[in-house]
Symmetry: C2
Subunit: 405 residues, 2 copies
């Protein structure tokens, strides 16, 4: 059996792909889908405002974006959804906008990078931007339309992954992993506990059994569960908490994000811009929600929603699309992204026999989920999925071995 530690979008995607490849899988998480994935906006946009000069990350993102259509279609089918749109999947592009000459120059640079990678981009004037998105601020001076960009609703994606796992008979154990079990040959399993070190506290562990024996669409619950799970492989996908279980160089990067409720859609696509030197983005959902994200704060394991964070989101969103002031505030949440020293994820063999990593995705967990699962498939010698192997150079970029001393 393989044990996946962590039920966020990375861990669940890996679990789903491995289970589909015929592997016996168990997922362990005290509160699946409640961490960074719950707070994520779900943009599938390889060019991230703060990192557009980081070509390696851009290449990873572009490769994973290319895998998303098939990933979404298969996931929808496995979860019993009628189409990927039920995951909130939309492929209508991202519009990056500029307010200043500096912003415009940065857009040109970004456009160059994207064209080099074969992504379709289009430079627009301010007027063209407003023709595309009439609610944009009049001060927008130009923009860059990334036609290939897409977005999903991460909460729907993780819910679909949990359903798909249930249908495949994969157990999702609602417990905290206290430590990895090791013997002289390497990592051989996980030990459960009720300590605190995970994204959410709950009582004792609780097992959700899916599969043939469970009633349709629902999971039975209950124990008894073992205090340890032996495993052929352990995949550590515990996001910002991964460092508590193995020497993994991840740190929490706090993000606060806000959901607004709009009686009619304000935007037709994702809109993004630099405001007051900080990136802000607005992601429309089909159900009339508009997601505004996100702060980036280095404050350790702090998940408080603060007056300052909320203020910045509201101020910056107003500058991009003044009409947001009329919208109702639906909720505000804070999550912790797993940051790494070089902003690249940690995917692959974990430096000990039996240990694999699928963490360190920082702001890119949702975008990189298909790529992460594909790399784990090949690195654990599972048969490749229908979308095939990952190029060797991309696998190397993500290799945790780059931090080995």
């Amino acid at each position: 059996m393989d044990v996946i530690v962590g039920g966020g979008v990375a861990g669940l995607s890996v679990a789903w792909r491995l289970a589909r490849a015929g592997r016996p899988i168990t997922v362990v998480d005290p509160a699946p889908a409640s961490g960074a994935s719950h707070a994520a906006a779900g943009m599938l946009a390889p060019v991230s405002e703060v990192t557009f000069t980081e070509e390696p990350l851009l290449r990873l993102g572009a490769a994973s974006l290319a895998r998303w259509p098939a990933f979404a279609a298969e996931l929808a089918a496995d979860a019993g959804l009628s189409s990927p749109r039920e995951l909130g999947y939309r492929a209508d592009g991202t519009l990056d906008v500029a307010f200043s000459a500096d912003d415009l120059a940065a857009l040109d640079e970004t456009a160059g990078f994207m064209e080099k990678l074969g992504l379709r981009v289009e430079r627009l004037t301010g007027r063209e931007c407003r023709r595309l998105e009439p609610m944009l601020a009049p001060s927008v001076r130009g923009g860059l339309l990334a036609r290939d960009d897409a977005w999903v609703d991460p909460r729907r994606v993780t819910a679909a992954l949990l359903t798909a796992l249930e249908r495949l008979g994969v157990a999702v154990v609602r417990a905290r992993v206290r430590e990895l079990v090791r013997d002289e040959t390497g990592v051989r399993g996980v030990r459960l506990g009720a300590g605190d070190g995970g994204p959410a506290g709950d009582g004792g562990p609780e097992v959700r059994h899916g599969g043939a024996g469970a009633p349709e669409g629902r999971a039975s619950r209950g124990g008894p569960y073992p205090a340890e799970f032996g495993a052929e492989r352990v995949v550590l996908a515990a996001g910002a908490w991964s460092g508590g279980l193995a020497p993994v160089p991840v740190r929490p990067v706090k993000g606060q994000i806000m959901r607004l409720r709009s009686p009619e859609p304000l935007l037709g696509r994702c809109v993004r811009g630099m405001v007051h030197g900080q990136p802000v983005y607005l992601v429309p959902r089909g159900d009339g929600e508009l997601v505004v994200g996100a702060t980036q704060e280095e404050l350790g394991f702090d998940t408080r929603v603060t007056a300052g964070g909320l203020y910045e989101l509201l101020r910056d969103a107003r500058e991009l699309v003044p009409g947001v002031t009329e919208l109702e505030v639906a909720d505000v949440v804070a999550g912790l992204r797993p940051g790494t020293p070089d902003n690249l994820p940690l995917i692959g063999p974990g430096g000990e026999p039996g240990l694999f990593l699928a963490t360190g995705h920082h702001r890119g967990g949702v975008l990189l989920a298909p790529l992460t699962a594909a790399i784990l498939l090949s690195e654990t010698d599972a048969p490749p999925g229908p979308d095939g192997l990952v190029a060797e150079d991309l696998v190397a970029l993500c290799s945790p071995g780059r931090f080995a001393s």
Copy 2:
């Protein structure tokens, strides 16, 4: 029997004082203490920033402020609390601050008004303000300390009022009043219904019985309840919804208010100022909360928390006390104040035999509660409370008869 329509701070205060005077009382409200009182900050400060030139309102406020110490002490005793501090009652003053020469001139004018009314005020320099409240913004140029001002926690006040009523055996009927019952002699009762027109929706009516038969500290629930209550007098205290039951000139004035959580107190007293032409105030609570209020919006019966309202609160609070950015956001609520054409409340005979009003308090419901109850006592010929009668000229200021055609 007298029926009080409305279980906010005004209706509950009137009910409590009348019941204490020996009157049989029933209160009817679908969701007591959930309307404007729930959203109120609880400042007991007669000088309101936007109305300091309105001398009549200032006189009403000063008279009610003078009644608050005895009102709070008696309420605490009747509710079984050890002291008025358990109502969040604090009498440490309000500091009004100025950022500009215009603001300073306005403070001088305010100081004159307050001295004329015998209230203790003190003009402070910017440095003196910061000595008093070190967290104030460096841009504060001067201030006015109103030493007699106080504040309470309105949620604790209404909870104490409900407890006191229960102990006095007063029934609080959780139902909506559909209409007043009239005969040829005037208003003779109320008819209940499940229509929507009140501050909060719930299912069918539900009666809370207090008194000797109820277990200590809890109220029994259940019916059957009559579809009508006959009444010697009906006191209409339904806040912004009063106009739906009688021709009362009230309109809803929306206010959004935010509660922040502070690990240690940021302020020692209420702080208030004009920011961007709008008044903002910060009210500290003993339990480490800091209340930030409040927007004033004329939008009809709209209680949505909006991005724009929240943005203004956060922006203005930051300008007054920059340190608020570090605080956690505990909640944001919107309430509807009952505004009147002349900003003065409507307290007294309602123009029809058997009908009395206790509404139209706009921003002053909590401050004016003791005065409101005292006026109602005298206008309904109940024996005056321990704090005595209200001066005739103040009674006349509040008389609903001023709007009779």
